[in-house]
């Protein structure tokens, strides 16, 4: 039986390193600027956080299956543009426009998955191509101009997606509840269900999984569709919150999302993923972005810190991995 103490097992978990980093980060920012933990700042940080976070949740599942998706940032921008263009030109009411946008994203995900699984082209190349197609489409549809979204106010759908309400002095967006819901769902799927077992097996050893009757192709295609749909969902939420559907929004989000996922302990090559780690990774990056501004470091230096965190975390994970394989 496992003779190691609870503490030892806790430390050996892949989520432990990121958790320590997150706590350190909060402690440092808070000690330099006490306003960092003010209700207003927390509420602002959370609003930004969940939009990228939604994509990171789906990306975690996709990366666990051994693939990743560079087109999420473009789909984030394209979907909002499509929804508001359809609505503003009077083609369809907002809920229908919403479904059209999500449906289009799922089609994009399906195409990604089809190219990757049927033609055996690496997801890096397939989704790089899709990144350009989606971004190009968004720019073409709008002639490069943002779509107006100011008539969203009296729409029930907008309220359901990003309506704000107050808990004490806290302003909370509905999108936070969506994030929490999807985080629980993703964690449950990955750890407790047959689908989760298949996702991990597809990434860990696709040939072995296939030989046991696991439909690796379908698993991956569905995950590509989920990833795209989630990017669309996040893009739409963002467009309503910021009252702008900008064809350029979401640029380079794909890299930030992948960074969140790997910092949390999910392996880029597949087989092992953790939603808890991803949630921690999401907060590490978003709090860093918010915190360094709060403590007076120029915002332009943000990427230096992010890059350093990624390298440090990868070094830690690789060290833990070697210890793990050595059986200690």
């Amino acid at each position: 039986m496992d003779n190691r103490s609870f503490v030892q097992r806790f430390i050996a978990k892949p989520e432990f390193g990121p958790l320590v980093l997150l706590i350190l980060e909060i402690a440092i920012f808070w000690s330099i600027n006490p306003d960092f933990l003010s209700p207003l700042n927390i509420s602002n940080t959370l609003a930004f956080t969940v939009e990228l976070g939604l994509i990171a949740l789906a990306m975690t599942l996709l990366m666990t299956s051994g693939e990743f998706d560079l087109s999420v940032g473009s789909v984030f921008g394209l979907s909002a543009v499509v929804m508001w263009t359809v609505f503003n030109t009077g083609l369809a009411p907002l809920p229908v426009a919403f479904l059209i946008a999500i449906g289009l994203a799922m089609l994009i995900g399906f195409v990604n998955g089809w190219f990757v699984t049927r033609l055996a082209i690496p997801s890096f190349l397939v989704t790089l191509g899709m990144l350009l197609i989606a971004r190009g489409s968004a720019l073409y549809i709008t002639d490069g101009f943002p779509q107006r979204t100011w008539n969203a106010e009296d729409q029930w759908l907008a309220q359901v997606l990003v309506g704000e309400f107050y808990v004490g002095g806290f302003r909370v967006y509905m999108s936070l509840l969506w994030f929490v819901l999807f985080a629980f769902l993703a964690h449950y799927v990955l750890t407790q269900t047959k689908a989760g077992n298949w996702i991990q097996a597809s990434g860990g050893n696709p040939n072995a999984a296939r030989a046991r009757g696991v439909n690796v192709r379908r698993t991956k295609v569905l995950l590509f569709m989920t990833s795209s749909a989630m990017a669309a969902f996040a893009g739409i939420i963002s467009s309503i919150r910021t009252s702008a559907a900008n064809p350029n929004s979401g640029t380079s989000y794909e890299l930030e999302v992948i960074a969140m996922v790997v910092i949390g302990g999910t392996v880029l090559t597949g087989g092992r993923g953790t939603i808890i780690g991803t949630v921690i990774g999401i907060f590490i990056l978003r709090i860093m972005r918010n915190g360094i501004v709060m403590v007076g470091v120029p915002g332009l230096a943000y990427n230096i810190f992010i890059g350093a965190i990624i390298l440090a975390m990868m070094a830690l994970h690789s060290w833990l991995e070697r210890r793990h394989n050595a059986g200690t």
């Binding site: 449950y188 407790q192 077992n197 860990g204 030989a211």
Partner: protein
């Protein structure tokens, strides 16, 4: 009672212009461990790949319990009760022992839409199976495969084949890269496989290992079966070696001194 389990008949396989299998016919009976020997390039691997559905044959028939079957994929082979265990490759290193055992056949509980893995049942069966294949060390079923030794991994793969009632278990070079103690462990599993009523095709370079466990030795050379009923109790290793290399023919023709 001994019955015919799998019969391969007149199997031919071409890789482009290379004739890798030439009219190969081989029968494996129930309760039988067959040792398949041959030099590199003799066609052993190709024959096993055909039987396990990994590569299609060019012509020929495969019968399982007298009925002709199509082996279009490894899934077909497993559905017909033929399980191939390649070293390492059949398991997912990141997943636990229990999750690997039930991969593709996971037991679930709970309402349809919210059903979840039955971890308790999976772990319980895993513990029993590990004991059955002779792993006496106390390894929790939640241990990832990556943390196990080569011999333990083979044991897990064999345990899985036994649990899901595979009729024929093919072991491709199971003792390669294993230490002495681990090799003995694997050979013990092979005996266990036969004792529980399964059949086995055992492929190994090391003839000593083959001699220890098999009922019958089949030798391939140049894509053909050149001997299919060598009794390891009545032959010596040296004799079998000569059949593998073809030396016995040279001797018979009196060419070795010429």
């Amino acid at each position: 009672m001994i019955q015919e389990l799998v019969r391969m008949q007149n199997i031919n396989k071409y890789y482009g212009r290379i004739h890798a299998l030439r009219d190969v016919s081989l029968t494996v009976n129930t309760h039988e461990v067959v040792g398949l020997l041959g030099d590199n390039g003799a066609g052993k691997s190709t024959l096993i790949k055909v039987l396990s559905g990994a590569v299609p044959m060019t012509s020929g028939q495969i019968y399982v319990k007298g009925k002709e079957v199509q082996m279009k994929s490894t899934t077909d082979a497993i559905a017909n009760g033929i399980e191939t265990i390649y070293q390492d490759s059949a398991l997912v290193p990141q997943l636990s022992i229990a999750r690997n055992l039930f991969l593709g056949r996971e037991p679930v509980k709970g309402a349809r839409l919210f059903n979840r893995l039955d971890h308790d049942a999976m772990n319980e069966v895993a513990r029993t199976l590990l004991k059955r294949v002779g792993i006496t060390k106390d390894i929790p079923p939640t241990t990832p495969i990556g943390a196990l030794s080569g011999g333990e991994r083979q044991a897990v793969a064999i345990a899985r084949a036994m649990h899901f009632e595979s009729n024929l278990i093919i072991l491709d070079e199971p003792t390669n890269n294993l230490g002495v103690a681990e090799t003995q462990g694997v050979l013990r599993f092979v005996r266990e496989v036969r004792d529980t009523g399964h059949s086995c095709i055992f492929i190994a370079h090391n003839i000593h290992h083959v001699f220890q466990v098999v009922d019958r030795i089949v030798v391939m050379r140049g894509g053909k079966i050149v001997a299919d009923n060598i009794d390891p109790k009545k032959s010596t290793i040296e004799e079998v070696e000569r059949v593998i290399t073809g030396e016995h023919l040279i001797e018979a023709l009196g060419l070795d001194h010429g």
